[in-house]
Symmetry: C2
Subunit: 229 residues, 2 copies
């Protein structure tokens, strides 16, 4: 997983959304560093397996399942990203669902493949925010979460998630200033090459999701935009 340190760009595919074979092939051959499979709504095991099988045939980059329910871990991915929502009001979404799954499945888990992410969800209107009963942290709260992700929990990833909304580059920059070891992932609302470039100035890795489905050509262009830097 040390190669993750070289990543700049990741596409996130939603198993609940339709994508044509051409577009799927285009995503895989775009030059992106990895593909995350993940979403919040209507995620089914069938949907995941179906997308996984299609990716298997065309993808040459690492494929990652971002686990929204620990019970629905589908084998065969290169890595599993497991969000721990630091700004949830409930311990449940920070560590308890993970704890119960580990209690049940730990003998089947392979740790080098399991990557726990410190998540901070910053879009109040998003499903992920509401589902995990999160609160909106201010900039100082967010920076302190980043600090904890690195210094207290030693997590490999701190993930600033604006989920569908383009976020505040200044905040992303300030968060990045707190991190040395933990990688900063940014996701949310990146639709254009210039947005991709702007967020990549601060984040280690940018995640492009929705725009694959809404403006495919622009989404593909975000790869070149950040690789040129």
């Amino acid at each position: 997983m040390n190669k993750m340190r070289e990543w700049k760009h990741v596409f996130k595919l939603d198993p609940a959304k339709e994508i044509s074979s051409d577009h799927l092939k285009g995503v895989c051959e775009s030059g992106t560093d990895a593909i995350i499979v993940g979403g919040t709504d209507n995620i089914t095991e069938d949907g995941i397996i179906n997308l996984q099988e299609r990716l298997d045939k065309v993808s040459t980059v690492p494929c990652i399942l971002e686990v929204s329910s620990m019970e629905a871990i589908t084998p065969g991915f290169d890595y599993y990203f497991i969000p721990m929502v630091l700004n949830s009001k409930e311990k449940k979404w920070m560590m308890d669902v993970h704890h119960q799954a580990i209690k049940e499945y730990k003998d089947f888990l392979h740790y080098p493949e399991m990557i726990f992410e410190g998540y901070c969800i910053l879009n109040e209107d998003s499903k992920a925010f509401q589902y995990t009963n999160s609160y909106l942290p201010d900039i100082h709260d967010t920076i302190a979460y980043a600090y904890m992700a690195e210094h207290v929990f030693h997590l490999p990833i701190f993930y600033v998630e604006y989920s569908g909304m383009y976020g505040d580059p200044t905040l992303v920059k300030q968060v990045k200033n707190q991190l040395n070891e933990t990688l900063l992932f940014y996701g949310g609302g990146i639709e254009t090459p210039s947005q991709a470039k702007e967020m990549k100035q601060h984040a280690d890795v940018i995640v492009v999701g929705n725009s694959i489905y809404t403006n495919y050509e622009q989404a593909i262009e975000t790869v070149r935009a950040v690789k040129e830097n």
Copy 2:
């Protein structure tokens, strides 16, 4: 802090309890590896400072403040142990009080001195258990917490705390079997050399507290009991 890996025995002194100069000197010269200052009830800054000043004069081993309230961090200790209660029902005692303190004080904190402990409190009748609104985990829950302490949070210490009650050596053994990197501290109810020996068979470090105040001679004997192993 790598020396902590060589520790076997630690005394825990309660700043709210009285100890004579002779006994304090005896504790310091007992051969123990470190002295933790910590407690739950009636902890005041004055009480901590007073004990710290007395320790300064006689102790040659590392002195550690176990922080029960992040607001009451007293400078001048060699290390600060900061409990995160994994089996609390509330995120507050797992990470939120820590988060708020980090938000406020992070520019004053020196990380190599701050040691975050994954705490698991197993005595329902103890003040610490009730204060942190904890639940009583079964053995599988406890093992899964140990697993998370090491594999998810990468904490330096997993602390099995029976707080005043002598615990279950079988449980401590099973927990130890889960840990490779994270050190296992055991605390609770150790009053005799044979109890010390029994728990030290499994735990990396045993913590002897109350019995300093109730049976001083026996407490001092626990050091030799575990060092002989």
